[in-house]
Every structure is written in C-alpha cells, then in structure tokens.
C-alpha cells in the first residue's frame, strides 16, 4: 500500500521559480537518502515537466510528496496545470515530437528517467502529470 509521509505544494508562475522548485525536490530526495544518480534523474525529469508547464500553460501547481510502500520510499511529484491540454498523447510521448521549437524529448525523456509516469490531459481544461521515483529505483 502506498503511504504519503509528507506533502508540500508549490505554485509555478515564473521562469525564476524553477530553481527554488528544483531545490525543494532535491531536499525531499535527500531526506529519504536517495543516491546522487537517482536524485539527478528525478530533478531533471521534474525540471522538464515544470518547463513544459510554464511554456505551454503559463504555470501551474506542483505537489511534492514523500511516499512509502513497504520498505521502499520515494518521491512523488504531481504537476497540474490549467493550460490548453495535449491533443494527441501518443504523439506527445514520441521522441523528437514538439509543437514548440524544442528537442521534443521532455515528456518521453522524463518518463524514461522515473519509475512511474502518469499523464492525463483534457483539451481545453489542462494537463496533470504524476511521476514517482523510488529511492533505489
């Protein structure tokens, strides 16, 4: 069973919020004793998703949670925005596809960097992305 040990939320409205947000994620990861490689993977994935949120939806809310399941603990991040939404999820998850002028690696790359990835989007209403990285995952 998944248990939430601590909860913290942060709103992203400007590009400058990225650095303090990354620090918050890092804090959570360090708290549960995550190694440097997994820490970097989690932070990079988080950074990709926050950039997306900022770029396509102009900002949103992020929930930072420390969760545990059995003997394993991890960090779960939920990114929620009220942006335009994603029209074609399959296309969005494809490497190299971007409606902006980026490399098109954000979503698929973030998925590869974490253990659990869940993307929900309704066109016109917004997008919610949940990622989870286990301490030893």
């Amino acid at each position: 069973m998944l248990m939430t040990l601590s909860k913290d939320s942060m709103s992203i409205t400007r590009e400058q919020d990225l650095v303090p947000f990354r620090n918050r994620v890092k804090e959570a990861a360090v708290k549960i004793g995550m190694g440097i490689v997994n820490q970097t993977k989690l932070i990079t994935a988080a950074s990709e998703l926050v950039r997306n949120m900022f770029r396509y939806a102009g900002g949103g809310e992020v929930l930072i949670e420390i969760v545990s399941k059995g003997r394993e603990s991890g960090v779960r991040l939920t990114f929620a925005d009220k942006g335009p939404g994603i029209a074609n999820l399959d296309l969005a998850m494809q490497d190299g596809y971007s409606t902006g002028k980026s490399l098109g690696l954000g979503l698929p790359g973030a998925k590869r960097l974490v253990n659990e990835f869940d993307l929900k989007s309704t066109v016109g209403q917004g997008t919610t992305v949940m990622i989870l990285k286990w301490k030893n995952g």
Binding site: E15, L18, V19, R22, I36, V37, Q39, T40, K41, I43, T44, S47, E48, R51, D95, S102, L103, L105, G106, P108, G109, A110, R112, L113
Partner: protein
C-alpha cells in the same frame, strides 16, 4: 477639556522623549551593538520633533493628510536605515510601538477624565498604528533593495570568457542555463573568438546543477554557432550522474566532443593544436 491631545504632546515634548528613550533602553530588544545610544536618541528626537510639530487637533485622525508627510519621511528614513543595518523586523516594529506606549502613558498621567482619556487614546492608537504600517512597508522595501543589489552583482559575475592558452578559450558556466543566460554566454563567447582569433572553445558545465533537454538544446546551439565561426567547441565537466541522465533523456551529444574534466578538455585542445606539454627533464646530478 483642559487641553487638547495635540497641545498636550507639544508642551510635553521633552518629557515624552525621555519616557520613550527610557522604554527603549529598558527593552531587551535594545541593540547597542548596531546603534549607539546617542544615535538612537538623535533619531527619536527627530521623529518626536516632527510629530509634535505637525500634529494638530484637526489632522490627528486624518493620517493621510499631507501634513504628516514630514513625519512619514523621517520614519521611512529610519526604517530603511535599520533594514540595511541588520535590525530584525521585530526590533524595528517595536521601536515605533514603544513610542505608542510612551504617549499613552503620558496621556494617562495628564488626562484625568476617563471619557476624554479614551477618546484621546483611540486617536493616538489609530495614528501610531498607521505609522507602524509605514515602518513595515519601508523596512521591507529596504530589504528588497539589498536583494536587488545582490541579484545585480550575481548577474555581473556570471559569465567570464577566459583565454587559457593561445588560441584556446574557456567558459565556465555556473548556475542554471536559461534562455537569456545562453544569449549572454553565446554573445560573449563569439565576440571573444573574434577578438582573440581562437580556434578552440571549452564550455565547462561543472557548475550547472541539472542538464535537461532545454539546457542541452542551448548547449547544442552554442556549439553550432561556434562552429559557424570556424572554431571547435569542447564541452567539459560532465559528471557521471549527468551523463546517465542525458542518455536516459535521449539527448544526442555524440557529434560534440565532450570530456569529464576541464583538464582533459585542455589536453584534447593541445592535441588538436599539435602542442605537447612535457615535464622538463632534470639532468641527473653526479656526485
């Protein structure tokens, strides 16, 4: 009514000042390490002077009236100075609130009629509270100025391009690489390539905390621009965890020369320029 509140304050100015100074000196929040007692007395005297000079029976409940401008000006000056001297918000706030206590005590001693006293206290309360609000506002403004100055200093020191050898430039990037930063980095790098006629540029990203796809894209752009200028670019300072992350993200950096450390990048640059660094052979001394 024997005498009005404003009249009372004016005629008891010296007593009020003494009372206030006493209160401040007795307070445990006194910071004689940050400000001498003489300075404190001077400040307090200025403020009480301005307050008693400008206060009248008519404007006592009209804090917004411009007759109080002088008081606000002096008070703002004091709060601003205190913010920069390192006083805590609590100490600054208590400074003005202790004046309120002093005035109230004075009124209590002078006005015998309870009804009159209550009216006077209400008026003074309102006036001093708005003075307190001004204190907070300017105190925070003072702190923000400090932050702003630091921000400017940080952006000033952010991107030096160094010529480390003839024809070889190094650019240590520290902090997050965002769009505006990339622009500055690229501009100063390309200009320096022209100025020095360098053929190799080393971008060191040891100080970049996370490399995500946007940072990578900025790096790739910088490398392409450098190549257009006819110079070759080496990216150094790739830490093991960054290398793994970049691979998982699926970023292709294979057509860029990357090195783990600035030293190995420099070595590579020497090799490209057909230079060797070798230790001078010391002649063996014969005894």
């Amino acid at each position: 009514m024997a005498s009005s509140v404003s009249q009372l304050l004016k005629s008891n100015k010296a007593r009020l000042l003494d009372l206030w100074i006493q209160k401040q000196l007795a307070s445990e929040n006194l910071r004689d390490d940050l400000m001498t007692n003489d300075e404190l007395r001077g400040q307090s005297e200025d403020l009480i002077g301005a307050l008693t000079k400008n206060i009248t029976e008519e404007n006592i409940d009209q804090v917004e009236s411009n007759q109080f401008d002088e008081v606000f000006e002096i008070l703002s000056g004091i709060s601003l100075a205190r913010a920069q001297q390192g006083f805590t918000p609590r100490e600054t706030g208590l400074y003005i609130f202790s004046l309120k206590e002093a005035i109230l005590e004075l009124l209590q001693q002078e006005i015998k009629d309870t009804g009159e006293l209550l009216t006077a206290v209400l008026k003074i309360n309102r006036l001093l509270d708005s003075l307190g609000v001004v204190t907070f506002e300017t105190f925070i403004k003072g702190r923000e100025e400090v932050i702003l100055r630091q921000t400017e200093e940080i952006s000033d020191i952010s991107t030096p391009v160094i010529q480390i050898w003839e024809g070889i430039l190094a650019l240590p990037i520290i902090g997050t690489l965002d769009s505006s930063r990339t622009q500055v980095v690229m501009e100063s790098l390309l200009q320096k390539i022209v100025d020095t006629g360098s053929s190799i540029a080393i971008l060191d990203i040891s100080g970049v905390p996370a490399v995500d796809s946007l940072v990578a894209q900025h790096l790739i752009k910088t490398v392409s621009a450098t190549r257009l200028m006819g110079a070759e670019c080496i990216i150094s300072g790739i830490r093991p965890e960054i290398a793994q992350t970049v691979v998982h993200l699926g970023i292709d950096l294979s057509n860029i020369v990357t090195k783990a450390s600035l030293a190995s990048a420099l070595k590579h640059a020497f090799a490209m320029n057909r230079m060797v660094v070798r230790r001078l052979e010391v002649e063996k001394k014969t005894f």
